[in-house]
């Protein structure tokens, strides 16, 4: 088995052993989205208009919540040190870890989103576009978030700092993600927005692993 396969296997095993972490993020997402219809009242037009935005913002915040788990535990118990000494390229290790993090923390949100979208009276088409936009956008959140997580390793109060660092970088994903659903309901077609989300994903895949690897080396020095 290759080194990357070992890392992915390890992180999957850990995610399975710590199910509560995954479930906390998911329930945070569900509760947060469900609070909005209760708060603003049952006006169908209003709910329909704000649904995509609420779902996307909730996904951003839930994804922030899970970022702490990406490297912090590995840093504390010394396994991150061993990863830096691994003969495999650190950027690829980061990519493997981000992939498993997305699978364990973000994919459940994506799968839950259409169900929650029903609360806002979104049409079948809009739900489909919403899921697609989350599917393209959430990996970007994991990758960009990894930069923040790696830069704040070992700092006290790192969690708050991560949100300050990372949330502004999430803005383009939010605009085009929520925009895709709006564009589709208003009949403009979501292809443009989804293409831009795809482009952001490619950019993040190419650029972030190296940045994260550099940040990890600095944090461990």
């Amino acid at each position: 088995m290759s080194m990357l396969a070992w890392i992915m296997k390890r992180d999957l095993l850990l995610a399975i052993r710590r199910k509560s972490d995954v479930l906390t993020t998911l329930f945070f997402f569900v509760i947060m989205v469900s609070l909005f219809p209760l708060g603003v009242g049952p006006e169908p037009q209003l709910l329909k208009a704000m649904g995509p935005g609420v779902l996307w913002v909730a996904a951003l915040l839930a994804s922030m919540l899970s970022l702490g788990r990406l490297f912090a535990a590995d840093y504390a118990d010394g396994t991150l040190e061993q990863m830096l000494l691994c003969p495999e390229s650190l950027a690829l290790i980061v990519l493997a870890k981000a992939a498993i993090h997305w699978l364990a923390s973000e994919l459940p949100l994506v799968l839950m989103a259409p169900l929650l979208g029903l609360q806002f009276g979104l049409s079948g088409d809009a739900l489909w576009v919403l899921t697609l936009s989350l599917l393209l956008g959430t990996p970007v959140l994991s990758l960009v978030g990894a930069i923040g997580a790696s830069l704040t390793l070992g700092l006290r109060g790192g969690g708050v700092l991560v949100s300050l660092l990372v949330l502004p970088l999430y803005i383009p994903v939010l605009i085009f993600g929520a925009g895709a659903v709006d564009a589709s309901t208003s009949g403009l077609g979501a292809e443009g927005h989804l293409s831009i989300l795809g482009a952001l994903l490619v950019l993040a895949l190419l650029a972030t692993p190296k940045a994260v690897a550099a940040a990890l080396r600095i944090s461990l020095e």
Binding site: M1, M3, A5, W6, I7, K9, R10, L13, L14, R17, R18, A76, D77, G78, T79, E81, Q82, M83, L84, L85, C86, P87, E88, L220, E221
Partner: protein, 204 residues
Amino acid sequence: MFEATRLECMRGDSRLFSEVGFLLEPGGLLHVRGPNGSGKSSLLRMLCGLILPEAGEIRWNGVNIRHSHDYNRALTYLGHLNGIKEELSGLENLRINCGLAGFDISEETAIDALERIGLDGREHLPVNVLSQGQRRRVMLARLLVARTPLWILDEPLVALDADAIGLMRSLFELHLENGGMLILTTHQELEIAAGVAQEIRFFS
């Protein structure tokens, strides 16, 4: 051949050490001694490439370790953090750590190594139910199966009992006999028979 010349280490504004150098041949032992906080661990982390030296150079077979492609494959570093996962069993930890270091071992080899290091019957227990010394043994089990020529060990004997220390000593001697290199720090008195033994002594 492992070589370091005129290494200097800064932590913040203060100079921890400077002008440190040595030449280690196959079969050679380097013992780093000194009081707490004198820079032993920093030197070891620097030799692994985790800290960049302020000045000086570290060479593996004549190539600076920053440009060497095979250095990480030749190195086994065990620091004062155990590098094992609490939620995983000793067996899983050992196999994963070996896999990450670039060599796969079978389940039988891993169980055998854990038995030899005194964890028989506990291979499948999650590490968080083991004692400090047993966790340390899970980490050290890697040395029983590693075939890397250079071992850099930071306080490997902490929390170990007399039996385990004896086992470690014979393991170190076997490694050196087979042409391996060993760099270690320890506060315990440990007589290791080695062809060439060197010492670096730090003062506070």
